[in-house]
């Protein structure tokens, strides 16, 4: 189906294959459509149908809560054209409420890839790491994510890369075991963690604008909740490898529940060891008030206790003008930070980048 978007001074059109989500079809055609989560949760890719027929997809997508159904509104990340009639009717016309514009000149156009899942390893009781060996080379910016479509599971799930390389065919991800989380149940409640067999997987990306770019010359202030550490570790690795941390500081607040939930200690400490004066690592325990004996080997990480957002806010320097703030974690953590960052810490909104995921 040919999808057309008319704006006052702009006209975009792209072709969506049968069953293909309009958001992905547009992005891979180089149309920088607005989105955040790309998986139905946030509602940012809201659009309105002005002509033609489409299938609006997942009925109960959380991101649909603010849509006006009587005004033909839908989410670009869920909608598709599926049957003969829709495909043959040829075209549809859409409106979107935001400007369609690139984030940076070096935006990477996302695409579909195929790969093999390999190297499962368990990091904690409920976090596992795996690689996807992609059939071809991919490019991404540190802090970005891919959406993964595993066989037998309906719909894409978003995962941030843990590693960084300008061009690579190996993407490393982590997955948290959540009750009812289809992919995590597939990963955890099977023999995968023990098996040496590999599974084929389709993926789409890279996606996301909570990215790090050395040319911006910023100090980094980072807050991660649980598996939100994934994208921030990618950023720290790129900041280390590019020499950015020779001249710039990085301060991390990594929130976990208990000492049993700590992971990536050696990976994070390896970065601190390279730049001991410029890297500060804090690990914040929400569900325990002190470290029991034997304490986990934290290396150069400083243990703190309480909520990670409170510890981060207590320590951010108000009015810092040369600092980019990165927030990655569950929506309640990100939401709890944005308001005080703006009001009390006086961080300009142009210096806040966040990645919310449920």
């Amino acid at each position: 189906m040919k999808v057309e978007i008319e704006k006052k001074d702009q006209h975009f059109s792209f072709v969506a294959q049968p069953g293909e989500k309009f958001l992905y079809a547009g992005l891979r055609a180089g149309v920088p459509l607005p989105y955040e989560c790309a998986t139905g949760t946030c509602g940012t890719c809201r659009a309105r149908l002005k002509g033609g027929e489409i299938n609006t997809g997942w009925k109960d997508a959380p991101g649909k809560s603010t849509l006006k159904a009587d005004r033909q509104e839908f989410l670009l990340c869920q909608a598709y054209a599926d049957d003969e009639k829709e495909m043959n009717s040829g075209r549809c016309t859409l409106g979107v409420p935001s400007a369609i514009k690139a984030f940076r000149d070096d935006d990477i156009t996302p695409a579909y890839f195929q790969g093999e899942i390999q190297n499962w390893s368990r990091l904690t009781g409920d976090v596992a790491q795996f690689d996807v060996l992609v059939d071809s080379t991919v490019e991404f910016h540190a802090g970005q994510f891919f959406v993964l479509d595993t066989p037998g599971i309906d719909g894409y799930r978003a995962y941030s890369m843990v590693n960084y390389a300008p061009e690579t065919n190996r993407l490393t991800f982590i997955v948290k075991n959540k009750p009812g989380g289809a992919f995590s149940e597939w990963a955890f409640h099977s023999a995968r963690l023990q098996s040496t067999t590999s599974d084929r997987i389709a993926l789409f990306g890279p996606l996301g604008r909570a990215t790090f770019h050395p040319d911006e010359g910023q100090d980094l202030f980072m807050v991660a909740g649980g598996s939100g550490i994934a994208g921030l570790l990618s950023i720290l690795r790129h900041a280390a490898d590019s020499g950015h941390l020779e001249k710039n500081k990085a301060e991390l607040y990594f929130g976990v529940r208990t000492a049993d939930d700590v992971f990536f200690v050696s990976e994070l400490n390896a970065i601190k060891d390279q730049f001991p004066n410029n890297v500060e690592l804090n690990i914040v325990f929400s569900d325990q008030q002190q470290l029991s004996d034997p304490a986990p080997e934290l290396g150069g990480m400083v243990p703190k206790f309480g909520f990670v957002h409170e510890q981060a806010l207590a320590n951010i320097e108000p009015g810092a003008t040369n600092t980019m703030v990165y927030l990655a974690g569950p929506p309640p953590m990100v939401d709890a930070l944005i308001r005080p960052l703006i009001i009390e810490a006086k961080v300009p909104v142009s210096k806040i980048r966040y990645d919310k995921f449920g």
Binding site: E6, K7, K8, E36, G43, T44, R46, R48, T66, R71, G95, V96, P97, S98, A99, D335, I338, R339, I342, I343, P348, V349, S350, I352
Partner: protein
């Protein structure tokens, strides 16, 4: 029917025009550099105290129509919606930073300790710039 009454219909008195000014709230109900949601004759709006006066906006963000009562952050005369960090000058409604659309505003005035709003019709944001 008397001549007087038909004349009154043909040329509305200034009194009728004044009927469109509605009391939204008491001036002391909204602290400086903050805003609150009020319903005025079935029209929902945000009343903002900008220091030297008040402003009245539709209750939602012009971007995703998020309720500003929940998502709005007022600080230093700047309103920020915490969903996508769009910002506006609270006095002029002009967009700042990533914001792409201005805030719509109702006319306001203060009288006898009250904030009055001039409502001809409910202001609503266009969905996109192709609507007009």
């Amino acid at each position: 029917m008397s001549l007087e009454s038909s004349a009154a219909i043909a040329s509305p008195s200034p009194r009728n025009e004044l009927m469109s000014w509605k009391v939204a709230c008491a001036a002391d109900q909204v602290a400086e550099d903050s805003m609150k949601r009020f319903d005025v004759d079935g029209v929902s709006l945000m009343i903002a105290n900008v220091g030297d006066g008040f402003r009245a906006y539709p209750p939602v963000c012009p971007h995703m129509e998020e309720y500003l009562e929940n998502s709005g952050i007022c600080a230093g005369g700047v309103l920020t919606c915490d969903r996508h960090l769009w910002q506006w000058d609270m006095k002029t409604g002009e967009p700042q930073g990533p914001a792409e659309k201005p805030l719509l505003m109702y006319e306001t005035k203060e009288e006898d300790g009250n904030v009055l709003v001039f409502i001809e019709h409910e202001l609503e944001y266009e969905f996109d710039d192709d609507d007009d």
